[in-house]
Each structure stands twice: as structure tokens, then as C-alpha cells.
């Protein structure tokens, strides 16, 4: 129990500061524009929620994108039927995806390990296919669900009469495009981070970690593990629904491709890349992957020829062909390679890497000062090591 309240407050405070100042410090990295920053925040929420299930209980869902998709559809329907205000949209997204998570989790959690993963994957693929076929009246199939001028928007119409043009999404008048949209998402990201931290530190969180560690022992200690796992599943589904709702809030459109298995796989990658079960890891992983996607998918053969123009022509062609595989639409190949290297050399993810680096530097400076290289406590494997 090394986590004092004070340390957690500093963690949340530091996180909030770092997130809210992203427009400033992301600019030198070429990522200081609202669209991308919004995506960082939204996928950060998605990954933080996923980590509540995967990081704490160890149950690896391979179908979490279904809640992202459901959240988006629910939000767009809220825009169409109720109001262009994002508040009801986000609440609808969370509520509907929570119900989906309850149903899918209830069935999937009857199995564990690989069978659980496959069940969740099957549900997600089913949802994806249904969205394209029989559910077209709800999802608008391949075209995707859009807002239209003729939508009823009951609350808006009731408050201010019918509008002649398609209004834009807003939070009580604050537009959801540009920086105000980013700050809206950022505040929700910070709230999500705080909630996840509270859960991790709570008795409920301790039970979830015990599920991951030894479910059998927990049963014989008098704990009914399934409702715990199901609650974690529903909470993480609601987080994913919130993320899906925010995707629709910042760009009011919902398509089934959001539920595709690649999207489910992406959140697994984000969490592992950043550090499973750590507080900061999932967000860090989300930022890295969305940043890399943005950079690498922007390259095309022309830009590559530009970069490698200094090479002799035949070599240039070969180099461009090879590197071309890794960029543009093929940027996932870069992602895959990056991921493999990380899992092999740094299985704890980026956060674990940073921690090791910190220990190394600490040791070096201590040695320079001629003191004994390690404080007594850190020689023991500390329980909280994986938590930051």
C-alpha cells in the first residue's frame, strides 16, 4: 500500500496538465492541430477503459470496438432525434453501449482465456456484419449514419423552432470542431483517467487484480468472481461507448467499419504498447499509435521519391518500393513491426521502459555521489512497481 492519496493527486494533476497543454507541446512534434488532438483524447479514453478489463482482470477482449461503434450510432441517433447538443448524445452512447456490454459480457464471461477472447471477437464480427445487412434501417449500411436537415431533433425544435440548415454539434453552444472540441474531449479524458485510478485503488479494483492473479484462490476465499468480471466488462464497455460517442460528436457520422476487428485489435495494441495494467500506459499507447498512423499514412510514393532523391536512380526505385510497403495504406506494417520489437524487448510497454530508465539514471547519479547504489527498499520487488 505505497500509493498515498497525495501521490495519486499529483498523478491526476500532472496528467491533467499534460493533456490540457497538448496543443502547445504537441506543435513542435507536428501534431498540434485539433483533429489529431481530439483523436488522441478519444482513443485515450477507449484504451483507459479497455485497461480496466484487460489490465486488471486479465480478460482479453478482442471485440471491444463493437462498443465504440454502438456508441457512435447511439450518439448520431441522439443528434437526429433529440438534439445537436452533445450531452444527451454522450449519455445515450454510454447507456446503450453499457447495455450491449452487459449482454455480450454475460455470455462471453462464461468462458475464460482464449475462449473468452474468441467469443468477444465473434460478437464483434456479428455486430459488424449485421450493421451492413439486416440492421441497415438503424445503421444506414455502407453509406453510414448521417445527420440530415429533415431530422426531427425534437428538443432543438421545441426550444428554438425548426432550422433551415443542418446545425452543427455543440455543447450548449460551444462548437465541437476545432480546439473547443478538443478541450471538451480532454476534460472527459481526464475524468476517465481519474475514474480508472479510483477503481484501481478501490477494494473492487483489488478483487479484479485478484481475478487476474488466481481466480481459483479467490473463489475459495468466498468471492463470486463472475459479477466482478462482468462489472469490469460493463465499465470498460461504457468507456468505449463514450469514446464512440465523442467520435460522433466531433464528426457526426457513424459507420460499421468502426466495429471491424482491426479496430478491436488496435486498442489491444495501444494498451500493451503503453503498458498493461499501468495508469498512464493506455493513454501513452493511444497517442503513440494515433501519432504514428498520422505520420506514416501521410507518405506516398511522391514524398518517398523526394526523400530518397539523393540515391542513384535504380537504388532509389528499390528503396522507394520497399519503404512504400510500410507507409500510406500499409502503415500497419510499421505498426506491426514496432509492436513486435516492443513485445520482444520490452514486454512491460513504454511505461515500464521509462521506469527502468529512471532506475538506471537514479543508480548512476547515486553512484556518482559515492553513495550505496540502491536504497534498501528498492532491492525488494515492490508491489506497486507496475502501477505507475
Amino acid at each position: 500500500m505505497t500509493h498515498t492519496v497525495k501521490r495519486d493527486r499529483m498523478l491526476v494533476g500532472g496528467f491533467a496538465l499534460a493533456v490540457l497543454t497538448m496543443p502547445v507541446w504537441m506543435t513542435p512534434l507536428g501534431a498540434g492541430y485539433p483533429d489529431l488532438l481530439q483523436r488522441f483524447a478519444i482513443y485515450g479514453i477507449f484504451a483507459i477503459g479497455f485497461n480496466i478489463l484487460f489490465g486488471l482482470t486479465g480478460y482479453l477482449s478482442f471485440g471491444h470496438a463493437v462498443f465504440l461503434g454502438v456508441g457512435s450510432y447511439a450518439a448520431v441517433w441522439s443528434f437526429k432525434l433529440l438534439s445537436m447538443n452533445v450531452l444527451p448524445a454522450v449519455l445515450c452512447a454510454m447507456g446503450v453501449s453499457g447495455l450491449f456490454a452487459l449482454a455480450i459480457g454475460y455470455i462471453s464471461l462464461r468462458r475464460s482465456g482464449i475462449y473468452f477472447s474468441i467469443l468477444t471477437l465473434a460478437f464483434a464480427q456479428m455486430a459488424y456484419n449485421l450493421a451492413y445487412s439486416v440492421l441497415t434501417p438503424i445503421t444506414n449500411g455502407e453509406t453510414g449514419l448521417k445527420i440530415e436537415r429533415v431530422d426531427p431533433r425534437l428538443i432543438d425544435t421545441w426550444l428554438s423552432g425548426p432550422s433551415t440548415l443542418i446545425p452543427s454539434t455543440n455543447f450548449f453552444g460551444m462548437p465541437m470542431s476545432g480546439y473547443s472540441g478538443f478541450f471538451f474531449c480532454a476534460v472527459l479524458l481526464i475524468a476517465a483517467f481519474y475514474v480508472a485510478l479510483r477503481i484501481a485503488r478501490s477494494p473492487f479494483g483489488a478483487m479484479l487484480r485478484a481475478i487476474k492473479s488466481n481466480q481459483n484462490r479467490l473463489n475459495y476465499a468466498g468471492v463470486h468472481t463472475r459479477p466482478y468480471a462482468l462489472t469490469a466488462f460493463v465499465i470498460s464497455g461504457i468507456f468505449a461507448g463514450l469514446a464512440g460517442g465523442l467520435l460522433a460528436a466531433t464528426d457526426p457520422l457513424a459507420g460499421a467499419e468502426r466495429m471491424q476487428w482491426t479496430a478491436s485489435g488496435e486498442v489491444v495494441l495501444m494498451t500493451i504498447l503503453g503498458g498493461v495494467g499501468t495508469q498512464l500506459g493506455p493513454f501513452v499507447g493511444a497517442v503513440i499509435i494515433k501519432y504514428a498512423e498520422n505520420i506514416f499514412s501521410a507518405f506516398n510514393p511522391q514524398t518517398l521519391h523526394g526523400i530518397f532523391a539523393f540515391l542513384p536512380d535504380p537504388i532509389e526505385d528499390v528503396v522507394v518500393t520497399v519503404t512504400g510497403l510500410f507507409v500510406g495504406n500499409g502503415w500497419q506494417l510499421t505498426l506491426g513491426t514496432l509492436f513486435m520489437l516492443l513485445v520482444i524487448f520490452l514486454p512491460g510497454g513504454v511505461i515500464e521502459g521509462a521506469r527502468r530508465l529512471g532506475v538506471l539514471i537514479g543508480r548512476k547519479t547515486a553512484a556518482l555521489r559515492g553513495r550505496r547504489s540502491q536504497p534498501l527498499g528498492s532491492a525488494l520487488p515492490a508491489s506497486g512497481a507496475a502501477s505507475e
Partner: protein, 251 residues
């Protein structure tokens, strides 16, 4: 009425009879040892008490209530708590958390949505955990990961995890196996101290020194059958026991 009443319990595994018409009465406050050679069915019998196995036939009553068919967590909440033959602990959690989790489980029942308070701010839980860790001599290692402990320490930790739940009936499956002589002495001493709290115990043990220093009653199991039952003195003198289990060897 005995605290635990076992009547005519049978269990076989694909043709192999592991338990054959086992009867057992465990009186409240007693320390009931079950001895017998390897493969006699001792662990199988305990498995039938805690819901890991369901007997083919027979009844198991605890406080007059049938335990058969109840899931493990329900049986635990009834007050029947078990230490396993191979330690079952939370290897990648700290010792403190290992003991805190069963403490919370006893306080909150089999499920509670306690997701907003801090686990480390529950003063009563904390006192209890610290106290029991102190009792088993592991307080200094409270922040160590449980998986890094020696086998003997793991057993002691599991014992702490069970004791903290204030069991009505504690089942101990070879609690000193794999322990050094000194550790065994400490464990006996600890079990005697718990005895003062009058927790009813069933103890499976090979070490006769441990058995005769703790038990108030002994049942001898061989090939799934109870071949003798009585107080320690009677068992010591029983010829069938000498033959079946001890092969005439000295106590």
C-alpha cells in the same frame, strides 16, 4: 450435534474408488486429524467439503446445512475455509494484498461494488491484516510479491489468508509439508495459538509429531475407507493402524 457431519460419502474416478462409505463427525472446538498413506483419499475428502468435488453419494452437513452442490464461494461464506496442499496464493500481488483480499471478502460478502473508496484507507481491515501478518511472522515482508516467497513462507501466508477470515471450520491439507524443522515448530506453535481461539480444525498431516501434538481426535483413512477412529492414545495402540498405515514402524 457435530459441527460437520459426513455420512456415507462415496467418490470414484472412472472406476477407481477414492472414497468408500466415509463417515466422519467433527465436533465443535476439536482438532480432528485425518491420517493415512499417500493416495488414501484424504485430499479428495476435503475437496468434497469445499465444493471442488461433488460426492457420488452421501451427505455433508455443516451446522446442519448441506454443503453438497454449493459453489466454493458460498461454502467459504458459510465459514468453511481451506488451506490447500500446494499453496494457492496471489503470486503477483504483495503479501499485504494477499491477506487484504480475503479480509475484504469476509467483510463485504461474495460480491460488493466498492469501487470508489480506497482499499488502503480501510482502517479496520488494515489493522486486521497487519495483526495476522505479525502473527505468522511475515510482517516485515508485507510489500514483497507473494510469488517470491519460499515454499514454507507461502504456506504460512496462505494460513494467514485463511485465519483472517475467522473461519468456523479450518481445513488444513498438510500444512507443514515442505517446511524446515524450525518452520514446522513455528507452524505448530501458531496452530496451537489459534487453537486457543477454538477454531474447529481438520488437519491432514504425515508428520506424526505434528499430529500427536495437535489432534484431539484422529481418523485413519486407507484406500478410501475409514479403518479406525478415536483419540490419539487409542489410535497409537490400534493394531490395524500400525499395520495399514505405519507398517509397524515407531511413532
Amino acid at each position: 450435534m457435530a459441527l460437520l457431519q459426513v455420512k456415507m460419502v462415496n467418490k470414484s474416478f472412472s472406476g477407481l474408488t477414492a472414497l468408500n462409505n466415509v463417515n466422519l463427525d467433527v465436533e465443535e472446538g476439536s482438532v480432528h486429524a485425518i491420517i493415512g498413506p499417500n493416495g488414501a483419499g484424504k485430499s479428495t475428502l476435503l475437496n468434497c467439503f469445499v465444493g471442488r468435488l461433488t460426492p457420488d453419494t452421501g451427505t455433508v452437513l455443516f451446522n446442519g446445512k448441506s454443503l453438497i452442490g454449493l459453489p466454493p464461494h458460498r461454502i467459504n461464506q458459510e465459514g468453511v475455509v481451506r488451506v490447500f496442499q500446494t499453496p494457492e496464493i496471489f503470486a503477483d500481488l504483495s503479501l499485504y494484498e494477499n491477506v487484504m483480499i480475503p479480509t475484504l471478502a469476509r467483510r463485504d460478502g461474495h460480491f460488493a461494488l466498492n469501487a470508489w473508496s480506497r482499499a488502503d484507507a480501510q482502517i479496520k481491515v488494515r489493522e486486521k491484516v497487519e495483526h495476522i501478518l505479525d502473527d505468522v511472522g511475515l510482517a516485515d515482508a508485507r510489500h514483497v510479491l507473494a510469488g517470491t516467497l519460499s515454499r514454507g513462507d507461502k504456506r504460512r501466508l496462505e494460513l494467514a489468508m485463511c485465519l483472517v477470515q475467522d473461519p468456523k471450520l479450518l481445513l488444513l491439507d498438510e500444512p507443514t509439508a515442505g517446511m524446515s524443522r524450525a518452520d514446522t515448530e513455528r507452524t505448530i506453535e501458531l496452530l496451537k495459538r489459534i487453537g486457543e481461539r477454538r477454531i474447529t480444525k481438520i488437519i491432514i498431516e504425515h508428520d506424526m509429531q505434528v499430529v500427536f501434538s495437535l489432534a484431539t481426535r484422529i481418523s485413519v483413512l486407507a484406500q478410501g475407507t475409514v479403518i479406525a477412529e478415536g483419540d490419539p492414545a487409542a489410535i497409537k495402540g490400534d493394531a490395524r493402524v500400525q499395520e495399514a498405515y505405519l507398517g509397524g514402524a515407531q511413532f
